[in-house]
């Protein structure tokens, strides 16, 4: 038995998506917990401290990896939700073509956020 492959899934197959979803989850969690920790520990945060944090090379790399992981995570999660609920059984015969349109929109937003995000992180 071969694994099921879908052209609309991020990876070549579900197992690949499953692994990416979990690895990305750990990276995103680390990034946001770090930011929450940083904000809680710096109640009187200044602009200089804030820029110093985001313009440091390790933070630029951390932000870049986290953003790309986040977008992969978003794509896998949204794809899963859409393929579960935008189905002919739940939404009628146009469901599959409607889902494709929604997926294209989501993918376009993901690409735009990647470009905007990377330009924020690397223009500092």
């Amino acid at each position: 038995m071969g694994s099921v492959t879908s052209i609309a899934s991020l990876g070549r197959n579900g197992l690949y998506d499953w692994v990416v979803q979990r690895i990305s989850a750990v990276v995103i969690a680390a990034y946001f917990l770090f930011l929450v920790f940083f904000l809680v520990m710096n109640p009187g945060l200044t602009y200089e401290q804030w820029v110093a944090l985001f313009s440091s090379n390790w933070m630029q790399v951390f932000s870049t990896i986290s953003l790309l992981m986040l977008l992969a995570h978003v794509w896998i999660g949204v794809w899963g939700v859409l393929t579960d609920y935008m189905t002919p059984r739940l939404m009628g015969s146009k469901a599959n073509s409607m889902r494709l349109v929604v997926e294209l929109v989501v993918f376009a937003v993901v690409l735009i956020v990647a470009v905007v995000g990377l330009s924020i992180f690397w223009s500092l």
Binding site: F32, Y47, W50, V74, V113
Partner: protein, 130 residues
Amino acid sequence: MKISSVNGRPVNLDLNTIDLPITAYASITHRITGLVLCAAVLVLLWFLDKSLTSEADFTEVQKILSSMPIKALMFLFLAPFWYHLIAGIRHLIMDMGVGESLEGGRLGAKIVFIVSAVLIVFTGVWLWGA
């Protein structure tokens, strides 16, 4: 209710008529919070961009974030964040084979709701000051 074409038994997949177990609520909440966080990321990225532009913009972002409606909005982002995080950690624990039984699943779902509720309360205290 539909009748199965395979064995003639009734088939019910209408979630509205099923009394969902707590594990189902844990799962659907994980999905809904995930979608909310997608929207949150767009708003947060905008705030991040502005806050890094200049000192004046930074001060303005601080002012916006301390206003009541935006504080409420941030709470509406942070609450799903904690739930999604804790529910995700539960998944990773279950991937390791812990809590996969029926009872383990129910207990895990309960723990996720309780732990995230505690974190959400702490977040409210942090945002509005105790």
